[in-house]
């Protein structure tokens, strides 16, 4: 008779599946895509080589100069004529192009990260606020703050004209009052009249000290501001104003705006970062806003509201995590774009200041020697730009597929 030993049986529980988080799931999808893996490989390669060379491979661009090696073609073995190995050849000052390309990666990646950081920080906040308050009704405190700020901004013009700081106070107070007494005579013409009159008097009285015509102009401004403040300004108004400003930035072609900003700030890598970052703000603002609008009607937001969570908490705890995926994708692709724009600025001589190695500037430096046959001085920096941009784009594409399976095509 066979004996049954219960310990011989191993029990497999089919019902309990290995726990996988949303991000773990996405990672699995990302890693299973060939193109995404290729992109990741390129990105890691560039990040690694740039960081490594920056910290461990010393390079002093100001001292790198050797006219005896001017514009030599790539060589992989040492000859008598060229005592050192230059896999990518040398440029017009006899500098090793390989070394400069590797070091240039540090600058290009830095520009990309800082520029995207600027765009994301400003654009993201603008998008979150506009998207949220466009649909969610403001609390009393928030409304008062909005009215106060609007009043302050409106007051700046009259304060400047009359050269009296007190005007700022008058207009801010008027705004705060309009926000606080929102229900007072709401929708009635007398409300418009009262606030208009208050604004006109409050602004014209102190301005009288400066002369009658100043008082007249300030009075008119006060009247208009009062009328505006008497209306029910809400999140939609705020959102509209912000989005029109974004449209305005967008109505300039990117490169030209960046060139103009750099012309205003002066050339240099840091200024280039700011210029590219500013140009990118509206893109992120619009993206974030539309992402917020797509989740703000969801039941979990309503639930959070009905249990009385504060607006700040709803924005950061419930909305932000749920709109991350489009933003992550856009950020990755934005890095690619920023690197490309930085290279373009560098090429035009508006980015990195020579002799600092930067891919675009290297191209701008050497393209005049193309006709004399020095193809290597142009080929390799350009390849570096293209490959790194391609890497970020491939990765971004893969991330989009991984993070949003619905969009998977």
């Amino acid at each position: 008779m066979a004996q049954i030993n219960p310990e011989e049986f191993t029990v497999t529980d089919f019902a309990v599946r290995e726990h996988r988080s949303l991000w773990g799931d996405a990672w699995g999808r990302l890693i299973s895509s060939n193109t995404a893996r290729l992109g990741m490989f390129i990105v890691i390669l560039f990040v690694f080589s740039a960081t490594f060379s920056h910290y461990f491979w010393e390079y002093e661009p100001k001292k790198d100069l050797d006219y005896s090696l001017k514009l030599k073609a790539p060589n992989l073995v040492v000859t008598e004529e060229i005592p050192s190995i230059h896999p990518f050849g040398t440029d017009k000052l006899g500098r090793d192009i390989f070394r400069r390309v590797v070091h240039g990666g540090w600058n290009s990646l830095r520009v990309g990260i800082v520029a995207v950081g600027i765009s994301l920080a400003f654009g993201g906040v603008i998008g979150l606020l506009t998207g949220f308050y466009e649909t969610v009704i403001m609390t009393t405190v928030e409304r008062i703050v909005l009215f106060g700020i609007t009043g302050f901004l409106l007051g700046m013009l009259s304060a400047w004209i009359s050269n009296q700081l007190i005007q700022l106070l008058v207009f801010t107070l008027l705004g705060l009052a309009a926000g606080y007494f929102k229900d007072f005579l709401e929708g009635k013409l007398s409300r418009v009249g009262i606030f208009g009159l208050l604004g006109a008097l409050g602004s014209a009285t102190p301005a009288l000290f400066m002369g009658t015509s100043v008082a007249l102009v300030c009075g008119i401004l006060g009247l208009l501001s009062g009328v505006l403040l008497s209306m029910a300004l809400d999140g939609r108004f705020f959102s509209n104003v912000m989005m029109r400003i974004m449209d305005m930035i967008l109505s300039f072609p990117g490169y030209l705006l960046a060139i103009a900003i750099v012309a205003f700030l002066g050339p240099g890598l840091g200024k280039g970062m700011i210029a590219i970052g500013v140009v990118g703000i509206p893109v992120y603002a619009r993206l974030t806003r539309s992402a917020v609008l797509s989740v703000v009607h969801k039941e979990y937001i309503l639930a959070a509201q009905s249990v009385g969570e504060s607006h700040g908490r709803i924005i950061f705890r419930h909305i932000t995590p749920n709109i991350l995926s489009p933003i992550i994708v856009q950020t990755t692709m934005g890095l690619a774009n920023a690197i490309l724009s930085a290279a373009a600025l560098g090429f035009l001589g508006l980015g990195a200041i020579p002799p600092e190695p930067e891919w675009g500037a290297m191209l701008g430096d050497s393209y005049r020697y193309l006709t004399s046959g020095a193809w290597w001085a142009v080929l390799y920096p350009g390849l570096a730009i293209m490959l790194s941009v391609l890497g970020f784009n491939l990765l971004g594409d893969g991330l989009r597929d991984a993070l949003d399976p619905k969009l998977r095509t």
């Binding site: 109505s251 030209l256 060139i259 675009g360």
Partner: protein
């Protein structure tokens, strides 16, 4: 529909005012004094002062509060900004500081060059991008799909100034098939009707001129077309894939319609909307001046001209050029929006 168009046109007005304001600010904020740029470094203070007065640079930027305090309301508005707006409304863009030629005249000469280049690029991009997108979508996940999608991503990632240089190296320096720059070889002349050389030479039957201008435009046009081509191909593919999942496509297939007929008659029509939008936006970007391409190929267009003017502190050119560029950009976007509403009735009623 008319109401939608009117509403859309009105909504452009604040943008335009903002644009003129930003251009004005940039022009004043860029370091350097136009009067010194005009007279050179060694000018006397007196003559600089005189020029500044002539150009109205001695007036305050926006409003003159001192004049107002003295009761002078006219003087209050006599500022650089209001004078600038006044000149703009009379279409007076001023003279170039360095060349002393009216900006408007140079603009009329240079703008067609940009238009010709960007139109040809867009034609190339559309002619290649859309078929590639359709083929990729219809053979999803095949080898051809992977190759064309990676290819289009390479196109999107292309630094066009580098591509232009490589083209010059290959076709102009090594093979010597095509010229490396300018719009025409010396000695050729094309009668100006539309100022688009390709069109003009065809109208006048000037074959040699047509061939010459084509040989000049082809390299920059291809370089400029790369990015839009990639974007259009990707957009066409994803839009087609969306549509191909719809029920009516399955119905059409179930009725026994051939694959090609379904693809072109049922799917493409419905997938066209986002593609049209993206084409419009890209056309706007290209028309707005391809600074880099124009620089490399010494193409006498708007982008290069404005860039040079920014560096040379030629303020009237910066102002006129950027204004035109922004106007074109805003105008093209407006047209795209209206087209969109024409194609998709749902938009109008929002």
């Amino acid at each position: 529909m008319t109401r939608y168009i009117i509403r859309r046109i009105i909504s452009v007005i604040p943008t335009l005012i903002g644009v003129t304001f930003v251009i004005f600010m940039f022009q004043r904020l860029i370091p350097g004094d136009p009067a010194i740029a005009m007279l050179g470094e060694h000018a006397t203070d007196e003559s600089i002062e005189r020029i500044r007065e002539q150009l109205g640079l001695n007036r305050p930027l926006f409003l003159d509060r001192d004049a107002l305090a003295e009761g002078d309301v006219d003087g209050f508005f006599d500022s650089q900004y209001f004078n600038y707006m006044g000149r703009l409304s009379r279409l007076d863009l001023g003279d170039s500081i360095h060349r002393r030629i009216p900006v408007l005249e140079t603009l009329k000469l240079r703008f067609p060059a940009t238009v010709e280049l960007s139109l040809l690029s867009m034609i190339i991009a559309v002619m290649i991008g859309i078929p590639v997108g359709i083929i990729s979508a219809s053979r999803r996940n095949s080898l051809i799909d992977s190759i064309s999608m990676v290819g289009s991503l390479v196109g999107v990632s292309m630094p066009i100034f580098w591509l232009g240089l490589m083209e010059i190296m290959l076709f102009a320096v090594i093979l010597q098939w095509l010229p490396a720059g300018a719009r025409l070889s010396t000695g050729f002349e094309i009668e100006g009707i539309t100022h688009l050389y390709l069109v003009d030479s065809l109208i006048t039957g000037n074959w040699a001129g047509f061939k010459d201008s084509l040989s000049h435009i082809i390299l920059p046009a291809v370089a400029l077309a790369t990015i839009p081509m990639g974007i259009i191909a990707r957009m066409t593919r994803s839009s087609m894939l969306d549509v191909l999942q719809e029920d009516y496509i399955r119905t059409a297939r179930a009725k026994g319609l051939g694959g090609r007929l379904v693809l072109y008659r049922h799917a493409l029509k419905n997938a066209a909307l986002p593609v049209v939008t993206i084409i419009g936006l890209q056309a706007g970007t290209l028309l707005a001046g391809a600074v880099l391409t124009e620089t490399i190929f010494s193409w006498p267009g708007i982008g290069r001209w404005v860039y040079d003017a920014i560096l040379g502190r030629d303020y009237p050119i910066v102002q006129g050029g950027t204004l035109l560029i922004a106007l074109v950009f805003v105008g093209v976007n407006l047209i795209v929006d209206i087209l969109y509403a024409l194609l998709d009735p749902r938009i109008r009623y929002k």
